[in-house]
C-alpha cells in the first residue's frame, strides 16, 4: 500500500527542497542550513491506539498546566511535599520574574511537544515534555501536502486523518487566549535553527511573522509598528525566542533579540504570550520524574501514559542504584537539550564511566538516569533497501478552550543503525505520522 510513496521518495525530497524545508545548525560558530531528510514510509498509528495516546497526552498536559499555574502562585504541590522545593528553585527553567503572573485564561503551555517512544512490548513511554518552544509540527504538515500529491492512491486506499488542520488549531488557540488585536509569530530572525518553521506556521495560521524590532511596548500595551507610523495592538504573541532573551528589561539585559517591556505588558494581562515564560521549570528533565505524581495530585487520576523508568541522582537510594548500574543506564544532563548531554553507559570506557560517576556524585541534581527502553524500529528506505532504524514520536498537544492532541506528529529517526539519538541537529531524518481515522 505504501509502494507509491517509496517510489516517489526522491521527488518528495526534491519538492521539500523547493519549499526550503530546512533547519539551521551552527558549526564552528557558522550558520549552515540543511535539508531535513524525509523518509516516505509513514509511522502508522491505528485509531484505537491514538485514542489511548490522546487521553494520556491530554491528561499529562492538563496536569502540567496545573503545575505551572501552581508553581508561579500558591506552590501547593511543594507545600504538600509532593515535589521537593529544591527541584523547583534550582531548575534553570524556574523564573522568579514570573511569580504571581496569571497568564490569560490561566494557560501556560499552549503548545506542548511530548516525546514518546513505543517499546517492543507495545507500550508507549514518555521520554520528555517540551513546554517551552517545541519545534517540528511544520515538517509533517508540509510533507503531507506533498505526499498526497505524489501518491494520491496511498491516501485514497487508507483512511488517514488529515493533519493539515494544525494551522487552524494553532490559530484557534491564539484566538482563545488573545487579549484583543493581531496575532504574531515572533522570531529571533533568519538565522535561527527553526526559522523555516516560524515562517511556515505564520503563513499557514494567518499570523504576522515579526522580528523583535517590529514590536513596541507602550502605555501597558504591545503594538506592531507599521511602516507608515500607525501602530496596531497585538493580542497574542507566539514567540519563538527563549525566555532569557525575550525581554532585556526583565531577563538578560544584553539580549538584542528581545522586546523591551513585553513582560510588563504580559504581567498586566494585556497580551498573551505562547508559551508562557517560565515553562522551563516543568520540562526540566528532573521534574519529568514527578509528572505522574502531578497527575495524581492535581487531577486525582492514575497516569494513563508511562514514564520511562527513571532514577533521580538527587535521592540517595536512586543515586546508589545509578552508580551501581551506570553501564546499562542512559544518563541525561538535565540542563541540556536537543539530544546533547545524553550518554549511554554501555558506550563508555571504564575511565569515562568513572568520570561520569564522579560527576553524578559531585552534582546529583544535574543528572537523571533511565533504563534504556528497547523501542521499536521503523523501516526507512535506504537506497533500494528497507532498513530498520530507531524512531521516536513528538506529539503536539494544543491547549486552548479545550486541550487537543494533533492527530499526527513528528516521527524522527536515527539514520545511524547503532544510534538511539534521533534529533535533527544530530543527523536524524523525519517521517510523516499517519493516524488512521477508523
Amino acid at each position: 500500500m505504501l509502494l507509491d510513496l517509496v517510489d516517489h521518495k526522491e521527488s518528495i525530497n526534491r519538492l521539500l527542497a523547493r519549499y526550503g524545508v530546512k533547519f539551521g545548525i551552527y558549526k564552528n560558530h557558522e550558520f549552515h542550513e540543511q535539508l531535513f531528510p524525509f523518509d516516505p514510509i509513514p509511522r502508522v498509528i491505528p485509531r484505537r491506539e491514538f485514542d489511548y495516546l490522546d487521553r494520556g497526552l491530554s491528561q499529562r498536559v492538563t496536569a502540567l498546566n496545573c503545575f505551572l499555574e501552581d508553581i508561579y502562585s500558591d506552590k501547593k504541590i511543594v507545600k504538600d511535599g509532593v515535589i521537593p522545593a529544591d527541584f523547583i528553585y534550582s531548575s534553570k527553567g524556574y523564573l522568579p520574574q514570573c511569580e504571581g503572573i496569571r497568564p490569560p485564561k490561566h494557560i501556560c503551555s499552549h503548545i506542548s511537544g511530548i516525546d514518546l517512544v513505543q517499546g517492543k512490548d507495545g507500550n508507549w513511554y514518555v521520554l520528555e515534555d517540551n513546554l517551552r518552544i517545541p519545534s517540528g509540527a511544520s515538517y509533517p504538515m508540509i510533507a503531507r501536502d506533498l505526499t498526497r500529491q505524489a501518491a494520491p492512491e496511498a491516501f485514497a486506499r487508507n483512511h488517514v486523518e488529515d493533519n493539515r488542520g494544525y494551522a487552524a488549531m494553532l490559530r484557534e488557540t491564539m484566538e482563545y487566549v488573545s487579549t484583543g488585536g493581531i496575532h504574531v509569530v515572533l522570531t529571533p530572525g533568519r538565522y535561527n535553527a527553526a526559522f523555516f518553521e516560524h515562517s511556515y506556521l505564520a503563513e499557514r495560521s494567518g499570523s504576522v511573522l515579526c522580528m523583535p524590532q517590529d514590536l513596541v511596548a507602550e502605555g501597558g500595551k504591545l503594538y506592531y509598528r507599521q511602516y507608515e507610523g500607525r501602530k496596531l495592538q497585538v493580542g497574542a504573541v507566539y514567540r519563538r525566542i527563549s525566555d532569557e532573551y525575550l525581554d532585556p528589561l526583565t531577563f538578560l539585559p544584553e539580549s538584542l533579540i528581545g522586546v523591551p517591556g513585553i513582560m510588563e505588558v504580559y504581567a498586566a494581562g494585556n497580551v498573551a504570550i505562547l508559551n508562557a515564560p517560565g515553562n522551563g521549570v516543568a520540562d526540566d528533565k528532573g521534574i519529568y520524574y514527578f509528572v505522574p505524581h502531578m497527575i495524581k495530585y492535581y487531577l486525582g487520576e492514575e497516569p494513563i501514559l508511562r514514564n520511562a523508568p527513571t532514577y533521580l541522582a538527587f535521592y540517595e537510594k536512586d543515586r546508589t542504584f545509578i552508580l551501581e548500574h551506570l553501564s546499562r543506564l542512559v544518563v541525561k544532563d538535565v540542563s541540556e537539550a536537543g539530544g546533547y548531554g545524553v550518554v549511554f553507559g554501555s558506550n563508555l570506557s571504564r575511565e569515562e564511566l568513572g568520570a561520569l560517576a564522579e560527576a553524578v556524585r559531585r552534582e546529583p541534581r544535574r543528572f537523571i538516569a533511565q533504563e534504556v527502553v528497547d523501542f521499536v524500529d521503523l523501516d526507512i528506505v535506504e537506497g533500494e533497501a528497507r532498513v530498520p532504524r530507531k524512531a521516536d514520536l513528538r506529539a503536539f498537544v494544543l491547549a486552548g478552550e479545550t486541550t487537543r492532541v494533533w492527530p499526527s506528529g513528528l516521527t524522527r529517526f536515527s539514520r545511524n543503525p547503532d544510534s538511539f539519538v534521533v534529533n535533527s541537529s544530530q543527523g536524524g531524518g523525519f517521517k510523516d505520522t499517519w493516524v488512521l481515522s477508523r
Binding site: G20, F195, S199, V208, L209, C210, Y227
Partner: protein, 225 residues
C-alpha cells in the same frame, strides 16, 4: 491596507530590487558574453564600468565564472540572488511559500549551472524562474500594498540599470511610468525634489543622457531612509 512594519517594507522593497538586479544583469550579461566570443574579448571591462562594479577579473574566462557563480564576490549574480532569497525568506507569510519557491529553484539551478558543461544554457532556466516568481507574486501576494512595494523596488532597480547601461529612451520612459504608477499606491516616504528632477530630466526625451549623473543621483536618493 496590509500589516507592514518598517522592517517588512524594507524586505519587500529589496526583494524587488535584488530579483530585478539578477534578472537584468543576467539578460545584459548574455549580450556582453556574445561580444566577448569573437568581437571584443574584454567587453566585460565596459560592463563593469557601466554597472559600477570593480573590475576584479583576470580575463574573460575569469569574469564568466566569477561574475556568475562566485559567492565570495558581492557583486556576482549568485550573491545578488542569495540576497533576494534572504529578503524573501523573512516575509514568507506575506509572499507565500509558492512565490518564495521560485527563488529557491533559481538558486538551486544557478548552483547546478556552475558545474555544468554549458552553464549559459542552464542560466535561461534561472531567468524563467524569475519570470515565474513575479507571475506567482501577482497571484499569491494578497496584499496590494505589499505587492506595490515589491514592484517599486523592482522598477527602481530596473531604471537604475537601464540608465547605467544606456538602454533606449523608449524603454526608460516606459519603466519610469511603471515606477511612478506603483509609487502612487504605497506610503513609502520619498523626496519630492528627486521626483521633480526625474520628471524634468525624462521630459527631455532622448537628450536625457546629458543629465545621466543627475538622474542616477536622484534615483539613489529617491526614498527617504
Amino acid at each position: 491596507m496590509g500589516i507592514i512594519s518598517v522592517e517588512r517594507a524594507d524586505h519587500l522593497f529589496w526583494i524587488g530590487r535584488y530579483t530585478e538586479r539578477v534578472f537584468t544583469t543576467l539578460v545584459t550579461f548574455f549580450d556582453f558574453y556574445d561580444q566577448m566570443i569573437d568581437v571584443d574579448l574584454e567587453a566585460y571591462k565596459d560592463f563593469c564600468e557601466k554597472v559600477a562594479i570593480p573590475d576584479i577579473y583576470r580575463d574573460r574566462e575569469d569574469f564568466n565564472r566569477r561574475y556568475l557563480f562566485d559567492r565570495t564576490d558581492p557583486n556576482s549574480v549568485c550573491s545578488n540572488l542569495e540576497r533576494a532569497y534572504d529578503n524573501g525568506i523573512v516575509i514568507r507569510d506575506e509572499i507565500s511559500s509558492y512565490t518564495l519557491a521560485y527563488l529557491q529553484l533559481a538558486l538551486d539551478h544557478l548552483e547546478a549551472a556552475a558545474g555544468s558543461a554549458a552553464p549559459h544554457y542552464d542560466l535561461q532556466q534561472v531567468i524563467d524562474y524569475i519570470h515565474a516568481f513575479w507571475g506567482c507574486a501577482d497571484d499569491r501576494v494578497d496584499d496590494e500594498e505589499a505587492r506595490n512595494i515589491m514592484k517599486c523596488g523592482k522598477y527602481l532597480e530596473r531604471l537604475d540599470l537601464y540608465l547605467r547601461l544606456g538602454y533606449p529612451f523608449r524603454l526608460i520612459e516606459k519603466e519610469y511610468s511603471k515606477f511612478v504608477n506603483r509609487l502612487g499606491r504605497v506610503r513609502l516616504p520619498y523626496d519630492p525634489v528627486c521626483k521633480a528632477k526625474l520628471d524634468e530630466i525624462f521630459a527631455m526625451g532622448p537628450w536625457w543622457t546629458e543629465r545621466r549623473g543627475e538622474a542616477l543621483s536622484a534615483l539613489w536618493n529617491f526614498f527617504l531612509r
